[in-house]
Amino acid sequence: MTTVATRPPEAPSHADSVSGAPVLIRGLGIAFDGNPVIDTLDLAVDGGTLVSIVGRSGCGKSTLLRAIIGLETPQRGSIDLDRDRARIVFQEPRLLPWFDVLTNVALGAEGLADAQDRAAETLALVGLSDKARAWPARLSGGQRQRVALARALVSRPRLLLFDEPLGALDALTRIEMQRLIEEVWTRHRFTALLVTHDVSEAVMLSDRVVRMDHGRIVSDTPITTPRPRRHGDPQLATMEGEILNQLLIGQQRADHPA
């Protein structure tokens, strides 16, 4: 198993990766019933990088992800990407309860001749080979989300979107899942966009942390700390503090407009 530790710390920039697809968003605008949710948003993500999007509830970060995968239709602007090779992991696992775990994973590779083999392989990657024939209802919340991750990975996506995938998990399971996500990302080098409430998670995992507010991107912080990263690393803690501060100040400004 490839682990994060085996990667040389001076690994070359992700931009030259072959498997990650770049994303280019220009002037994106989405409104629900006339209320702008995404407002003239520009975002360029290099292929193979892991970018987190943080922001308060209602800032438009989930809508942005849904627009990228094609679940929302923008009124303005453009999104350039190869949607055929894009996958999303939702906050809820969204497994089909009437299919066993392996069949659920194989759904992600539908149409491919070797879907079953790939599904078994990917299930092993997330450490759930022994649950292949179990019903989703019999799994724990963390296991279900790992199955959902396997379903997203099985088609070898070039872009993987995460819509607060760890939001409903307990603290320890969360950390395990963070490690797993980083591990599969390191191995497959897809481009990853992670929407999260959790600033420490964003800082821990990302190459860049993008902060959204009122449908726009208001800050963009590169995280250059070499991987593997440790929980409690002082440099990461400083970054986390800065971004949290920005979030809180942004909120004060919204509460007390000058």
Binding site: I69, F90, R94, F99, D100, A134, R138, R151
Partner: protein, 284 residues
């Protein structure tokens, strides 16, 4: 005084003895609650009482023949072929009505749930028809279709249509939107979405509709056969009434009851099999 608490010798106040008695009582109570024979106790007592009443002459045979006599009549009618032949005819009618009305209910339920246009077009009218009791149609059905097989199939079909229509509709409408959304982003076409997400998601509700429908199916069959028929279990009952053969009438009541129980058991077995993924039904 404190010594009483440490001395287990005072009989009346000994908490352990009290607890032991309570435990014994609980064991006695649960023996009745746990035994597999408990549900059969009451029917056995009733049956024995009935038989005793018949033997002693308290219950006249013309009003209520003995259980043994009913059994005897059943045996006779099975041997001469009357019961099996009429049973098959009745079951065939019920099945024909179920297939016609049930299929229609299933298809229209899916159609109105999936298409808003179809719903606006059909649902108000279907709901209006639903408020008509099926048996109110009997004179009309007889006038139009006579007392042939067609009339019975229409009555049974009409009765089973509504529970299947309504439960299918609600089942399909209630399918988790998140799962449908997942199916769409994971590249499922309309047909795959329907087969793999919408239909299995609606199945628990459809099966509830089926169980209701089966109950109404037997009800409609009995009414149809009692009003006008020249074959079937209901016809046997009518004939028996003409000749005051109370034993045969009772037999037909038992047969109808057994048929209802049979289909209900079969549906429940189908539920356990088809919904085994659901922790409320399955055991895996």
């Amino acid at each position: 005084m404190a010594s009483i608490a440490f001395e287990p010798s005072g009989r009346a106040a000994d908490p352990r003895a009290v607890a032991a008695r309570a435990a014994r009582r609980q064991i006695q109570a649960s023996r009745l609650a746990r035994s597999r024979w408990t549900p059969l106790l009451l029917p056995a007592v009733l049956l024995l009482g009935w038989q005793a009443g018949s033997v002693t002459g308290v219950l006249p045979a013309t009003i209520l023949p003995s259980p043994a006599a009913v059994l005897e009549a059943g045996w006779q009618l099975t041997r001469d072929g009357t019961l099996p032949v009429n049973l098959v005819i009745s079951a065939g009618r019920a099945l024909a009505g179920l297939i016609v009305g049930g299929t229609l209910g299933l298809l229209l339920g899916i159609g109105t749930a999936v298409s808003a246009g179809l719903r606006r077009l059909l649902d108000p009218t279907i709901q209006a028809f639903r408020s008509v009791p099926p048996f109110a149609l009997i004179p009309l059905i007889i006038l139009w279709l006579g007392i042939d097989e067609g009339a019975k199939v229409v009555l049974i079909g009409w009765s089973v249509f509504f529970p299947l229509y309504i439960n299918t509709f609600h089942g399909v409408v209630g399918v988790d939107r998140g799962l449908v959304e997942m199916g769409r982003v994971y590249g499922m076409g309309r047909s795959a979405l329907f087969r793999r997400i919408i239909l299995p998601g609606a199945l628990p509700s459809i099966l509830v509709g089926l169980r209701f429908a089966l109950g109404l199916m037997w009800l409609a069959l009995i009414v149809a056969e009692t009003i006008a028929a020249n074959s079937g279990v209901g016809y046997m009952a009518n004939q028996a009434r003409e000749f005051s053969q109370t034993d045969i009438i009772l037999l037909t009541v038992l047969v109808y009851g057994a048929l209802g129980k049979l289909t209900d058991t079969a549906t429940r077995a189908a539920e356990r099999r088809l919904l085994r993924w659901n922790p409320a039904y399955g055991r895996k």
